[in-house]
């Protein structure tokens, strides 16, 4: 029986972090399934799924990764995983849309748009935001599978845009995919 764990590490970016973390897992005979990492303004955060032999505990993994961290900078969170591992590629829902929102930076923008989605049963599949010269841009990949009327949603969005003083647009994800990828499928 394998014990699956979700491991998350955050640290100021430097060469060797991934080597350190995955090295620790390797030493414990762990099996690395999936890994996702991103870097934001010099800070690295990674999340990964690994499975170990049953006897290996969360504390042991924590200790081993900490030991690999020479400078004592890693923030480590480990949780045992309850769900079964899904295999294969994840396909996007048919009603995947991209919302872009741009406006003058002020607090509450991401909270505003994410609440808007939550209230309408819209799952946010991916989110990316940037701040350039006082202008805030949010790009959300959303799933509209549970939205009754997309036309009504467009009207709603227009109101939201006016209220929050943002420029908001929504297009189907397919457009972005076919205009930027070589294969059309």
């Amino acid at each position: 029986m394998q014990r699956q764990m979700i491991i998350s590490v955050m640290a100021k970016d430097r060469p060797g972090i991934i080597a350190a973390v995955t090295g620790a897992i390797f030493e414990l005979n762990g099996d690395l399934a999936d890994l996702n990492q991103s870097i934001l303004r010099g800070y690295l955060t990674m999340i990964l799924i690994a499975s170990f032999d049953e006897e290996v505990t969360v504390d042991e993994v924590f200790a081993r990764i900490s030991a690999a961290d020479g400078g004592n900078e890693f923030d480590i969170i480990i949780k045992p995983m309850q769900l079964a591992l899904e295999s294969g590629m994840v396909t996007l829902p048919a009603k995947t849309y991209i919302v872009t929102a741009q406006g003058v930076n002020k607090s509450g923008l991401v909270y505003g748009i994410s609440s808007f989605c939550y209230q309408r049963n819209i799952n946010i599949l991916d989110l990316s935001t940037t701040l350039t010269e006082g202008r805030y841009t949010m790009i959300l990949q959303i799933d509209l599978s549970h939205v009754e009327s997309i036309k009504d949603l467009r009207d709603d969005l227009e109101c939201y845009a006016l209220q929050s003083e943002m420029h908001v647009m929504m297009q189907h994800y397919e457009i972005f995919r076919v205009t930027n990828e070589v294969t059309m499928k």
Partner: protein
């Protein structure tokens, strides 16, 4: 998810730069509608078009809304009517035109093309009757468009048809005098007419095609213009070579064509009708920011018609084709840059300022993708001169193995320097002067056929 910059650039393209699917055109075969009398034939035509096109307009709108790319025009093209009406007389052809008009109304499309004939090698008796029917047919209908293929690289130029067509253009204009000769805007003469062009007025459903097919015409001169401007402003003109501009046009055309491909495939799937081709032509409209002329300005001529204009159109046309071809499973129709004078505010302005003359326009048609299109000339120009203008355009297409077309509008009662306006998509422009009027009658009078060029013998 894709990179943020790619996403934002795509959003700009759609929202700010007039990217749309210019037309989805359903091509419908009518050969199986022919019956032993014209009334039954009409009934069959109406029934067939109605059954195929019943959900056409709503489906295009639905897909357009779902994706967020509007399908601006929904149109129908049919088998050249001279084939469907083989053996008919003038009156019967006019009857067919009325039937097509009714079908267009029922389907809810704004234009139906295919009141056409293919006479590049010779004219049958009913072909002649068809030609004679054109002025009346287009005067009593609004939505029907006509075209005639009078030349091809394989067969040469049919000079008998050419002579008739010059007169037809005049008669068309005269019978629609009150609207400035608008009838002539609904009729195009072709060399090497494609059977799958989705743009009007020259769209037909060619023989050799399936029973019904969907062809998509994308467009977006505005998108190209804005992307070139962005490139120039971000890099500085002094740091760019002309091939950098060609590359930008190519890549932008790729994106534009992909949008058309996406819409086309989805409409096709939804309707259960075969997807034909994407025609990736840069087709301007009179709307500000939707001009091919503007692209020519950006690419380096201050006056359109100045030396360099032909070279620039050549590069633009070629870059558009290259970008589009990779983007689509099947590219067809005309696919290139259009230079329709009345439909492009910047081109029309150049005519008004005497920068763009007929001769230079003709030169540019050697390297563009259509021909002398939507050119308003004085109403006093005689039929033979009009035939001769068309003949020159046919020769260019025939010898260079390309499609060329002529859509000349002799505006009754107006002379060079006057102005004509058709409104809407058909636009407006000053009347273009024609030099050497009335000097070509002996040439047109010969009749017969200009033989196919030597390179047509490929066996």
């Amino acid at each position: 998810m894709l990179r943020s910059d790619q996403i934002l650039a795509t959003v700009e393209m759609i929202q700010k730069e007039n990217l749309d699917v210019r037309t989805v055109t359903m091509g419908i075969n009518l050969l199986d509608c022919r019956s032993d009398n014209v009334e039954t034939t009409c009934y069959n035509i109406e029934r067939k078009i109605q059954s195929l096109a019943e959900n056409f307009v709503p489906t295009c709108d639905k897909i357009g809304r779902k994706l967020g790319i509007p399908v601006v025009n929904k149109r129908i093209s049919v088998t050249p009517i001279a084939l469907v009406g083989a053996g008919y007389n003038r009156a019967q052809f006019v009857r067919l035109a009325r039937c097509l008009e009714k079908s267009a109304d029922i389907a809810g499309v704004d234009i139906l093309g295919g009141f056409s004939a293919q006479v590049e090698k010779g004219l049958t008796e009913s072909d002649r009757e068809y030609i004679l029917a054109i002025p009346e047919a287009l005067a009593v209908t609004n939505k029907v468009c006509a075209s005639i293929n009078i030349a091809s690289s394989q067969k040469g130029i049919n000079m008998d048809a050419l002579a008739m067509v010059g007169q037809t253009v005049k008669d068309l204009a005269e019978s629609t005098r009150d609207s400035g000769g608008f009838g002539a805007a609904k009729f195009v003469a072709f060399c090497n007419q494609p059977g799958d062009n989705p743009f009007m007025a020259g769209a037909i459903h060619g023989t050799g095609e399936a029973d019904a097919v969907l062809n998509v015409g994308v467009s977006g001169p505005g998108v190209i213009a804005r992307s070139l401007e962005r490139l120039i402003s971000s890099h500085g003109a002094e740091n760019l070579l002309i091939d950098d501009l060609a590359e930008e046009i190519k890549q932008t055309t790729f994106r534009v064509t992909r949008c058309g491909e996406l819409v086309g495939r989805q409409v096709s799937r939804e309707l259960g009708i075969e997807f034909g081709v994407v025609d990736l032509s840069l087709a301007p409209t009179p709307t500000v920011g939707d001009s091919v002329g503007e692209i020519l300005h950006i690419l380096g001529v201050d006056a359109i018609g100045a030396p360099g204009s032909t070279a620039i159109v050549a590069m633009l046309n070629d870059a558009v084709k290259k970008g589009g071809i990779f983007a689509s499973k099947a590219v067809g129709g005309l696919s290139g840059a259009f230079i329709p004078v009345m439909e492009d505010a910047v081109l029309a302005e150049a005519v008004g300022r005497d920068e763009l003359c007929l001769e230079k326009l003709e030169a540019m048609t050697c390297v563009c993708s259509v021909g002398l299109d939507m050119v308003a000339v004085p109403g006093s120009v005689d039929a033979d001169t009009i035939s001769a203008i068309i003949a020159d355009e046919m020769a260019i297409g025939m010898v260079n193995n390309k499609t060329t077309a002529a859509r000349i509008i002799p505006v009754p009662g107006k002379e060079a320097g006057d102005h004509v306006s058709f409104g809407g998509l058909f636009g407006a422009s000053p009347i273009m002067p024609v030099r050497n009027v009335g000097q070509s009658s002996r040439f047109v009078a010969w009749g017969g056929r200009i033989p196919a060029p030597i390179h047509s013998f490929k066996n």
